[in-house]
Subunit: 329 residues, 2 copies
């Protein structure tokens, strides 16, 4: 006999809320941003079969479900305050205590790592697949958000980390679309299943960076959102892209689509004025995250990528559009 | 060819955010509660085939998706500030502009009616059914939330509106589980498909009511949450229950399960001290909502219902548990 909804909530998801907050167990969670701070909020849906594979390790899934939302807070420069979880489970999953326990363990580990306690949510039965919705709240000083519309011509373009292409290629190998390089899977898989949101970097970039976005749908597409919102263009240098180490020695043509267009990266792509280069490098150092200068913002619209010989790439991979093509995870 | 995710967002869901807020189009929404106010937040998942029927009018669905969340704010006494929407659509739905336009119309009408603008969200493709997640934020003065754990022995128990049983019976008729009374469907259906969240009443009850909950899973089950959180019991008088008019003349045995146990009500069940009766009635009058005194809170635990003859009902219907039985909408 399946456990009741309320038993499940109590067993895996209920913990005492921090002081001055009301957590799981009432109609709403209650909390307050620190005085003078704005609230940042974001929500994401993750569906089994589309955003994650059915056999994904539940602990990694719990980690990722929160991590991809924390990444949105990071992209605004917000400090996490708390989160809500909506979880729709088929009967088979609800009856697998190990699956739920693993999911909760991964979720709480991320929550603890980033000071983002689970404050409430909704659990329900699903007739088909697992659906997960996570909503995160963060705080930041009014006026200091790293908005998409803040890029200026002459800004440098930066990317955090050194993982471009890793998640996309890991998925290709798992789905059998790329069989030659399955030896790399062990190296690439953590990028796909346990992305590390750049929360500390986002906070450190307040007052330094102009525009910022997290790379969820692919570098070119996400940078494209900054360009559209800021009404400017960009030129990138392929040789300067922080390509994931296992892919760095692959032939350019083979890795290029994953590096430029691959989604699920959850690093920050941001712009900053040239005079702030030293401060950007210092912010990266302070939080222990590599930051790479990969190009610059131009007044003329359009996005171009120059190869190591300074030649403009004639074709650019498309980014990930959930409704546009079949490139779905 | 289906429209892209970004086209869909722009066409149906993007509007200018109110002053001092950042809405759809960045990594996070930005807003702030009024100075000195706490934030209340709640999230709900609605799945096609489980929480709503596939042929439900999309405008009603958009209305209900937000209304059921606003009802959670109402149950805390919070004033709505804004909301986020996660929407997973099968290709067939994404390609039906009338469906999406209808959904957006119903959603925005509720948002406008309660001052709860859509500030952001997530749209994605679903391989199976429609999944909807809505998260709402509201504000309320610190310390004035109508919490579930605030009921006290001697409190009156109240219910708002006069709709008990309506939504449950409408669903039974729509699903063919109750064929005798299909003539009532037109009268009952609005309660199921267009519930009106008692936001104004919740705000008006601040400082008057003790505990409060919205009736989503059935009167007895939801009142049971108050009793468990407040460590007390209750005695209800069946003759005083505000039964939906079309059901008022039905035989007691036929309507009782729907009235006591039927979900999807979205009225408030709350407790208030006996000396506050006049203020409760006045609050209801001010916001144009009927309020009925249906029983009282007892020091001894347990929940009993007395019939018109003062006899305790020997059997009480079970409430709705998403994982516990097959009584799903």
């Amino acid at each position: 006999m399946p456990a009741s909804e309320f038993d499940l909530i109590d067993r895996y998801f209920k913990r005492d809320a921090p002081a001055n907050m009301l957590g799981v167990g009432d109609d709403c969670a209650l909390f307050a941003p620190p005085p003078g701070m704005q609230l940042a909020a974001s929500t994401d849906l993750l569906l089994e079969g589309r955003h994650f594979l059915s056999d994904m390790d539940p602990c990694a899934l719990g980690h990722k479900a929160l991590a991809v939302n924390l990444s949105d807070l990071a992209a605004m420069g917000a400090q996490p305050l708390g989160c809500l979880l909506g979880l729709a489970l088929p009967a088979a999953r609800a009856g697998q205590p190990n699956w739920l326990a693993g999911f909760a363990r991964g979720f709480w580990a991320q929550a603890d790592a980033h000071g983002c306690p689970l404050l409430g949510g909704d659990t329900t039965r699903s007739d088909t697949a697992v659906s997960i919705s996570v909503t995160v709240f963060g705080a930041l000083p009014a006026g200091q958000a790293l908005r998409r519309d803040a890029a200026r011509p002459g800004d440098d373009v930066w990317v955090s980390g050194r993982t471009l292409g890793a998640a996309d290629m890991a998925l290709a190998i798992l789905q059998g679309r790329c069989t030659d390089n399955s030896a790399c899977l062990a190296l690439l898989r953590p990028a796909l299943e346990r992305p590390e949101p750049q929360v500390a970097l986002g906070v450190a970039l307040r007052g330094i960076a102009h525009a910022c976005i997290d790379i969820s749908d692919g570098l070119l597409q996400d940078l494209g959102h900054i360009l559209a919102a800021s009404a400017c263009g960009a030129r990138l240098y392929e040789a300067d892209l922080p390509v994931a180490p296992p892919l760095a020695n692959w032939p350019l043509e083979q890795r290029r689509p994953a590096v430029l267009g691959g989604g699920d990266v959850y690093q920050l792509c941001f712009t900053a004025p040239a005079h702030a280069r030293q401060r950007v490098l210092q912010a990266g150092e302070e939080v222990g995250t590599e930051v790479s200068r990969i190009g610059l913002i131009t007044a003329e619209p359009g996005l171009s990528v120059l190869d190591a010989q300074g030649q403009r790439l004639p074709f650019l991979p498309r980014g990930f559009d959930h409704f546009g093509d079949d490139h779905a995870a």
